[in-house]
């Protein structure tokens, strides 16, 4: 099973929930936590494990051989303006390239062979109970999507379907979020009960519905703001999986890089509530 933890708004507690939920479930099940927020991966700060693997991740970019008849087909073919003919030169802009291969395959003179370009690093760790994989986007690299896709691929190759796979997803509603959640069996949207939290939750719900995803909501910092998020979920028939109280102790523990659920009993209670709801949805097996 694949469970993605996402949110429209940033900083609502995705990582707090993902790391605690994964660690808790891993006490009695096979679990791998995957940090797909590759622009700003934070889960690692809360998971204290031994590194077992590291690899560079590449995407394939065409590289001009320097010898062709300058027919100009490549720049016509590219839908992303990543190839331009300037005088007697063909220039490739790697940040704009989506690695669709069209220019390379269709070049009549095979003058654009594909070359790997490093876009990030994948790291794997192991704690006593939990497996953890994260990827970090190279700074200056603009596209998170290919790195997210390859990270999921790595996880699927290395962990069989008996594992519960928990994806810590990026914030927002655009393409990185789609990539991180599109093959999840269930999505947990984390929000906070404020006007910003509600507005961004509505956008995230729209995305999930468009993708036809099963999803539920966790309200974090409950007690702050107002009841509008709860009312909205009720009106829309969205299940509220847990309400985590607004508690300064949680913010303080988080700030120091500590897992929350082991220290705060009220948080652990909500985690149990979440677990039993996920069990009801057949997302995690009963123990």
């Amino acid at each position: 099973m694949k469970i993605a933890i996402a949110s429209g708004k940033g900083g609502t507690g995705k990582t707090t929930l993902a790391t605690s939920l994964a660690s808790h479930l891993a006490e009695s099940r096979d679990v791998v936590l995957v940090d797909l927020d590759v622009e700003e991966p934070n889960s690692r700060l809360f998971i204290d494990g031994d590194q077992t693997h590291q690899q560079d991740v590449y995407k394939e970019i065409p590289q001009w051989t320097g010898a062709c008849s300058l027919c100009g087909q490549c720049q016509d073919i590219c839908n992303f303006n990543a190839i331009v003919q300037v005088g007697s030169q063909i220039m490739v802009f790697p940040e704009l390239c989506h690695s669709c291969r069209a220019c390379s395959d269709l070049c009549p003179e095979s003058a654009l062979p594909l070359k790997p370009r490093k876009i990030g690093i994948l790291n794997q760790f192991q704690t006593e109970d939990l497996d953890f994989v994260e990827s970090r986007l190279e700074i200056g690299e603009q596209q998170a999507v290919p790195l997210i896709a390859q990270t999921k691929h790595y996880v699927d190759e290395n962990f069989d379907d008996d594992f519960i796979k928990i994806y810590d997803s990026p914030p927002g509603t655009s393409c990185p979020v789609i990539e991180a959640t599109k093959d999840a069996d269930y999505v947990i949207l984390v929000t906070e009960p404020t006007p910003f939290g509600l507005y961004d939750l509505k956008l995230a719900v729209e995305v999930m519905r468009k993708m036809g995803k099963a999803f539920g909501v966790v309200v974090n910092r409950y007690g702050l703001g107002n009841e509008d998020v709860i009312d909205y979920c009720q009106l829309e028939g969205i299940s509220v999986l847990a309400k985590i109280a607004n508690d300064r102790r949680i913010a303080e523990l988080y700030s120091g890089g500590e897992l929350i659920y082991t220290s705060i009993p009220e948080f652990k209670e909500q985690l149990f509530a979440l677990e039993s709801r996920l069990t009801l949805h057949d997302m995690v097996g009963a123990v």
């Binding site: 914030p171 927002g172 700030s255």
Partner: protein, 292 residues
């Protein structure tokens, strides 16, 4: 004209709340641009009137005509994105996966595939309640190319600033370090980081500030919720010193921001407090550091 960008790396540090207060303080000297197009929240505090709106088109989507399709599978063979799916011998385009590269269209022997430009959002120029023009956007769900929408919002803000003779464009950026942030930073004169003293806040600030340094843009930092973890504040201050980031201010954890938000207000208009005073001083410093 100076472009001042407010970003954070990490989400939820209070960037938009702080930025909204600066908008209120800057009032008529500004043009405001909300470049956090993924989760644009600034409008909830600045009450724009959506005076002008324009559709935003970006990227293409493959459309397959079943009547012309001979089920040869050429499209499936070339697609790198699982954008073509075969079910019971019938091919179809999976919209969510289609990257819009058009490779399938080029290899289809019966011209059964054509590409359509997608309307992926709208952008607006509005009068905001603080008296300055605000350029903002709403992106369609799951849309690509938020970087290009950001560029569009910024260009419009520049055009207006020029026409109105405004000195400052104040820009709210998105979390992360990807295309939307890179696009927000292009042409910026000064960057204000809003961070928090947590391991994540520090980690994310380091990554985004490396990106900013790559552009050689001077920057300063506000530590929000600074009383959460004094030790991490020291760590942040040491990093800022090393990285040449000016320390603008420390703001204590204050639920007044949420209380103000519930009334659709910026903190500085909601209350006259020690925190609002810090914001007033911060804005002065920022203008000075950005050489406005």
């Amino acid at each position: 004209m100076k472009e001042i960008v407010v970003i954070s790396g990490k989400g939820g540090t209070g960037k938009t709340s702080v930025m909204a207060s600066f908008s209120y303080l800057g009032q008529a000297d500004l043009v405001i641009a909300d470049c956090d197009v993924d989760a644009a929240d600034l409008h909830m505090l600045l009450d724009p009137d959506y005076q002008n709106s324009e559709d935003y088109y970006s990227g293409e989507l493959a459309i397959l005509d079943q009547e012309k399709c001979i089920n040869c599978g050429a499209c499936l063979d070339v697609c790198q994105f699982d954008g073509v799916q075969k079910e019971n011998g019938i091919f179809r385009i999976e919209e969510m996966n289609c990257e819009g590269c058009g490779y399938c269209q080029r290899v289809c022997p019966t011209a059964a595939i054509h590409m359509e430009t997608q309307k992926v959002g709208q952008w607006y120029s509005s009068n905001s309640k603080v008296g300055s023009t605000m350029v903002h956007a709403k992106m369609g769900v799951g849309a690509e190319n938020s970087g290009r929408l950001v560029a569009q919002v910024k260009n419009e803000a520049r055009r207006i600033a020029k026409a109105e003779g405004k000195e400052i464009i104040l820009i709210d950026g998105s979390p992360g370090i990807g295309c939307a942030v890179t696009s927000t930073l292009s042409g910026a004169d000064y960057v204000v980081f809003v961070t928090e003293p947590s391991v994540s806040g520090i980690h994310d600030l380091k990554r985004v500030s490396e990106l900013v340094q790559g552009f050689s843009i001077p920057s300063g930092c506000i530590i929000n919720k600074y009383d959460l973890n004094p030790q991490r504040v020291l760590e942040l201050e040491a990093f800022m010193e090393d990285a040449g980031i000016e320390h603008i201010a420390n703001i204590p954890y204050d639920e007044g921001f949420t209380a103000a938000m519930l009334e659709g207000k910026t903190l500085v208009e909601y209350e006259n407090s020690s925190v609002s005073q810090i914001l007033v001083e911060s804005w002065k410093k920022i203008k000075q550091f950005a050489k406005v």
